[in-house]
């Protein structure tokens, strides 16, 4: 497998490419290669996502790192003939960009595995996710071995704290601190939960991580279990993520067979096992306490915090909940140390972030970049620029994310810089839009989502989302009341201050930022003469205004 002299073809098999027939293409490739008698020289490797996600079947060829997209089954014979028999590039489907040479499978060197700044996705697109041996071949489970055999739980927690890793699920809470809270509780059993619900529209990073590198999540969960003294882990995953579920199940099975899960892992007296829990379709279940209720078999309504899951979590026992991407950072940090991790990203938020870049860009897809690069860099350096028209706005972090205008293109994407403007980084979705979409239209779509997903537990959120939806819809149609924008701000403010859970509180984000940056455009949708009843605003009311 590590022979550099042979040619490698990486076939990206993930949920996007499978739909375009990647599996058939792979089979066809193999038959064609053997028909030409060169299957010894050219190795076909099945991998997770390589990068571009809207370009049909994607192939990478090494050495050289050529990237081919949109290949059809009929073309494979010609492709093999041209590329491997004659040794010329197959111009018709060649993309301009190249895969970095380091992606080629080669002798494993633990210090070098994290190439070109990829930490989370380093193996995605490089190894076969359904084969534990390949994961081990690139240094997998080494971090677990070193954790269990050489380090105490306290030492591990200290490493994670020193690395400065923050949660990637949306809130950005320091991960080491969270682990230490769970560790301090001396009430057993404890649990580790991996949040793979990923319901935020426009976000599918966790899916591609799980599809491309499921063992990394398992390894990280075992390390987490050891560090907080838990013996049972759960992965709560969306029912729609069929391929992820399948691969995780397979990975868990393989790990059990090699005693990387189960009893006396690595010959120590530590036991840990993982169970998959499948969600049933509800956005709010991604919120950690709602998720716990859902695992317990109840309606996925959030619980009051505090107490936090670290004290009273699953079945009222201490529980650690982390997002998939957060966990995917753990093995590399344990292996390479906190200082290495701090080489990436910013002082306040070290590391990389996986973004899903979507909307009106030339190359929508998944990227992993150091934290702190700007929106402009994402759009023009990574996503190939705006596909048609001019850049108008971007919504960052999913439906509950802020709507930014062209003026914010140069703001670094890290928690500190964004919070200075009153914004959040959120889940990693970057929805880029040109001027074919009006702000009111975007807001309507977001509010409709919230009105649908509000769990109904508290009235501010239940009624507020519905009100905001109808208000935005009026604006969309150009029929807004004279005091519409003030009312929207009031309602959003009330929700931010009084909603029971973060879902209701987060609804305010897109509303505030749209009012801040696109007030002019929104005002144009107002029919001046009509005034609505004013639910919260009185002459001398003490409503606090957020901006």
């Amino acid at each position: 497998m590590n022979d550099k002299s042979i040619t490698q073809v990486l076939v990206s098999i993930d949920s996007n490419t499978v739909l375009s027939g990647a599996r058939q293409i792979k089979t066809k490739l193999i038959t064609e290669l053997s028909r030409q008698g060169i299957s010894e020289e050219v190795r076909v490797i099945e991998t997770g996502s390589i990068g571009p996600t809207n370009q049909g079947v994607v192939l990478g060829v090494f050495p050289g790192g050529e990237l081919y997209a949109n290949l059809t089954e009929e073309e494979i014979a010609e492709f093999v003939q041209e590329r491997f028999v004659k040794g010329r590039t197959y111009q018709k489907r060649l993309l301009a960009e190249k895969l970095p040479e380091e992606m080629m499978l080669q002798e494993y060197d633990s210090r070098k595995t994290q190439y070109y700044g990829r930490i989370v996705l380093d193996n995605c697109g490089r190894i076969n996710p359904e084969d534990i041996e390949e994961y081990i071949g690139v240094g997998g489970y080494e971090a677990l071995g070193s954790a269990l055999q050489e380090k105490t739980p306290e030492e591990i927690i200290n490493i994670i704290q020193a690395s400065g890793l923050r949660g990637r699920g949306g809130a950005g809470f320091p991960t080491g601190l969270k682990w230490s809270f769970t560790f301090k509780e001396k009430k057993y059993p404890k649990y580790v939960v991996c949040n793979a619900d990923e319901g935020e529209p426009g976000t599918f990073k966790d899916r591609l991580i799980m599809e491309g590198d499921p063992h990394k999540i398992i390894e990280a969960m075992v390390i987490a279990g050891y560090a907080v003294e838990a013996e049972q882990g759960f992965i709560y995953i969306r029912g729609e993520y069929k391929l992820s579920i399948e691969r995780l199940q397979k990975a868990i099975q393989q790990a059990r067979e090699m005693n990387l899960l189960g009893e006396n892992i690595f010959g120590t007296d530590f036991n840990f096992d993982i169970q998959i829990k499948i969600g049933a379709g509800s956005y709010v279940c991604g919120e950690e306490t709602a998720l716990l209720n859902s695992i317990e078999g109840y309606r996925g309504e959030p619980r009051l915090k505090p107490p936090y899951p670290a004290q009273y979590g699953l079945l009222q026992q201490p529980t650690l909940i982390n997002n998939v991407e957060t966990l995917a950072n753990i093995p590399a940090i344990i292996l390479n140390g906190p200082d290495w991790f701090r080489n990436f990203g910013t002082e306040n938020m070290p590391g990389t972030k996986v973004y899903t870049v979507l909307g009106h860009v030339n190359r929508p897809g998944l990227i992993e970049v150091p934290i702190g690069i700007t929106l402009r860099e994402v759009i023009y350096d990574y996503a190939g620029g705006i596909s048609s028209g001019e850049f108008k706005m971007a919504q960052i972090g999913g439906t509950a994310g802020d709507i930014l205008s062209a003026e914010q293109l140069d703001v670094p994407l890290d928690i500190q810089s964004l919070q200075a403007l009153g914004h959040n980084l959120g889940s990693g979705a970057l929805l880029i839009m040109n001027d074919s979409i009006s702000v009111a239209e975007l807001l309507t779509s977001c509010m409709k989502f919230f009105a649908h997903e509000s769990c109904g537990k508290c009235s501010v959120c239940r009624i507020g989302t519905e009100y905001l939806y109808t208000a935005c819809n009026r604006l969309r149609k150009g029929e807004g009341y004279a005091d519409e924008l003030e009312n929207m701000r009031d309602i959003a403010t009330t929700m931010k201050l009084t909603a029971f859970c973060p879902l209701g509180q987060s609804v305010a984000q897109p509303v505030f930022s749209a009012l801040k940056y696109f007030k002019n455009e929104l005002s144009k949708s107002i029919k001046q003469n009509k005034k609505s009843f004013s639910p919260t605003r009185e002459k001398n009311s003490k409503v606090i205004y957020y901006s």
Binding site: Y298, L358, H360, P364
Partner: protein, 163 residues
């Protein structure tokens, strides 16, 4: 899950028996209501009141708790679906790429609205907020198949595949 095509021959009685067995295996475990309901929906295709009551009795919990859970999660259906279920994604990524137009075209073609079933029970239709395939936006899902980069033009050809 959710498709009954190959189970048509099974009698009601047999279905209840299957469900009963599954409940018996799992009732002692904590938090098994949702997996049981998943299974019930696989067996029956949807979750009518009788099935919900059956689950409640079998698991020794109140019917209201079962109903509360069933109505909370969008995955559970309480009315029979068509042979093929179409889900149109109206998530933001799909929306800005024109999924509303796809929905309108579908409503037009099939003569049904969201949440309804065609008279011949061939198609039923629902919407979702993000199917997690935004890279292919706009996306629709028919049964278990995801169709990406949809256009209204492509619809006929795709619908034809589902009889």
């Amino acid at each position: 899950m959710g498709c009954l095509c190959n189970q048509q021959e099974i009698s009601e009685e047999e279905k209840y028996k299957q469900l009963k067995e599954f409940i018996a295996e799992n009732r002692e475990k904590k938090g098994y209501l949702i997996p049981v309901l998943h299974m019930a929906q696989v067996i029956f295709g949807y979750l009518p009141d009788e099935v919900q009551a059956f689950v409640a009795r079998g698991m020794n919990i109140s019917t209201s708790q079962v109903k509360g859970v069933v109505t909370f999660y969008s995955y559970f259906k309480t009315s029979p679906a068509g042979r093929h279920h179409i889900t149109v994604c109206l998530g933001t990524a799909c929306y800005v790429r024109g999924s509303k137009k796809i929905l309108d075209a579908l409503e037009d073609k099939l003569g049904i609205k969201v949440g309804e079933t065609t008279p011949d029970r061939r198609f039923s239709m629902g919407v979702q907020r993000c199917l997690g395939a935004c890279g292919l936006a706009p996306v629709i899902m028919i049964d278990e198949d995801v169709h990406g980069r949809m256009t209204a033009k492509k619809l006929d050809k795709i619908l034809d595949q589902y009889k």
